[in-house]
Amino acid sequence: MTDALTARRGRLDTLGLLQSGGVYLAIALLLVFNLAFTPNFATVANLRLQLVQVAPVAIVAVGMALVIASEGIDLSVGSTMAISAALLPLYLGYGAWPAIAIAVLAGAAVGAVNGSLVAFARMQPIIATLGMLVACRGLALVLAEGRLTEIFDPVLGALGNDAVLGIPVSVLLVLVVTGAAAVAVHRAAFGRRLLAVGGNRAAATLAGLPVKRTLVTVYIISGLLAATAGVISTARQGASDPSFVGLLIELSAITAVVVGGTPLSGGRVRIVGTLMGALLMQLITATVIQQDLPDSTARMLQAGIIVAAVYVQRGRSRA
């Protein structure tokens, strides 16, 4: 009897460890594998490339993690990126910074609509943001008249390609966003409200918390971050491409969040884990490409990892 209990406890602890540290373990394994088998992997240029490539997904994923912690989901992030990308060339005439500000504010506006649909119209997040996914991509194409526009702007060029102290600007931005989100969740009052709303909405309401304001805020943050990712992508490509920028990024972001140990059921969030989740997915893709395997292999590997991550969480939540 006692033995059986201990055994079960032991198994659960392994699961718990996998859930909280699984993503780090997987990254470590992949790094070791690449160091051993991939030529030219451990070069500064390659590592920097990996980090720059992961930047947009990582930024979007942090916003997604916050939304998921509120027991919601934001499918409209990719289309929000497209809107921000479409707006940039339209307002570059006023200067790069005003154009960036407008693009980012547009993201906040999309988030405000999402949040209002969820908080006030009480729509299911998946439906509300699915609608916005379709609507915003369409709006972006209308704004850009369906065209790809090349951008020659020194500020945007710097955002895309420059580095400070050897660290690319976009990577710095990821660090700032992650740090700010971690502080907001773990230190600020906002994080407590968010986790209470996501963990038990009825209890949060009865505790007199501003549930609706919290929900709207979290979708606005997600929209802001998605638009920022849109600016970064556009800057890096040197072109505004509203048809393709951020396409399917919502899936990568959700994957990063889940693999990073944040349950879809809300009430818990791991910000650094999310960053690591994004990094892991990037490493998988890179490994597969550098081993000259087809891209489809990477996708199947990623799918396997998602299933494993969700399985581990399921085992945990039953405990």
Partner: protein, 520 residues
Amino acid sequence: MTTPAVDVRSVGKHFAGVRALAGVSVELHPGQVHALVGENGAGKSTLIKLITGVYRPDDGEVRYLGEPAAFAHPRDAQAAGISTIYQEVNLVPMRSVAGNLYLGREPTNRFGLIDFRRMHRDARKVLAGYGITVDVRRRLGELGLGVQQMIAVARAVSGDARVVIMDEPTSSLEPREVDLLLDVVALLRRRHVAVLYVTHKLDEVFRICDQVTVLRDGRLVHTGPVAGTTRLRLVATMLGRDVDQIRRHGATTFDDRQLEATGTPVLRAEGLTRRPLLDDVSVEVHAGEVVGLAGLLGSGRTETAKAIFGVDGLDAGTVSVDGGSARRWSPAAAIRSGIGMVPEDRKSEGIVGELSVRDNIVLAALPRLTTAGFVSRRRQDEIVNTFVKRLRIKASSLDQKVGELSGGNQQKVLLARMLCLYPKVLILDEPTRGIDVGAKAEIQSLISELATLGLGVLLISSELEEVVEGAGRVLVLRDGAVVALLRGDDVSEDHIMHAIAQASEDDQAVRAPAAPEGGL
């Protein structure tokens, strides 16, 4: 006497060592309506599930039509002629009335497709048999709950049901719809169906039932003809009280002195109305006073609490604290005005299980502890330490998840969450339900102590003892309305039970003057 359709012979059932039922025997006879009553946790649903094959009894046996019944699955019971109608309508709101009636057994034509014309014709005929005339092609969801419930009954009974089990079928119905449903029950009786009718509403027992069985704590405490009992006796047996000698000063640890406060009330709620659950309920609580809310389950106790706290929208009514009121009433506004509430359902409305003890305690105080978006650690820890010590909350650390604590400690965390706001009025909805004896005693003495310190308390409990010994004044609710206000020496279990029963009798007299009244 005829052979019983269902013969339950001294069945017992345990769950993980906890007794759910012990030695319960019930006979259901064709053409009789058998009432099954008891408070929550009395074992009613366990008994139903034993009869319908969801559970197998640990002891005793269930016989059906004279044969031992060993249904492996509810489906088998259904096929053998035992139909069950649940409290919530288990139908598909988006499908048509006829579609629901024949769900899973639609008549087909020779191509194997659904024969809609025949289905609609049959459905009309079946429903007409129950006196229901609706367009059978309409979507079920567009109809009233009463009609839906009736269609659920028709669905369950059509075919050759010999036994029909109804689990609180009227709990969400309007009075007019209740009348319709009871007509259907009468019809079933005429068709020699054996009906087991589970209810909390005593007037329904006396209106429609022939036999009544009372369960309490998994034991059968009374069974016999309805005609041989009275409302008072039923209430007393349900609540486990002896009508003749009601004990004073039982197991509770409330302070003996119950002052009746006078002067201006700190909380004044007037004319709270939310149809059909609340009807013109008014409550006043003075500083330093414990006011009890008594009544059977579903009488509107929790609804009153939630109305005062601004949880649900109201059709009418006002709430004011110290004479002041807010324009838009919500839990947040109630908390700002100085009301605190500990909800009845600890798990689903109280704790945030994934958050720590610390975060749960300061949850409602967050707006007050926040400066420029950040929570003051120092002030937060002061509060948490004070209340953990004061309420003796036992946790391995303040960072432990609340979901891992015992029920009693979770309840204390919720009390701390409200007390750290220093409210003027505290609403406690079943504050000691489902917690261990020790924690229960601690919470009861805490309530008395808080009142002594000047807090106004509105205490809701389904345990009469707790209300009587804890409260100075008691409001008795029934069917969403106040039926009695007891004060001083009138506050006794006897009087509360009389108020509940009396109200039923009055109501009964108005509705059906010719109904036979049973003597003791």
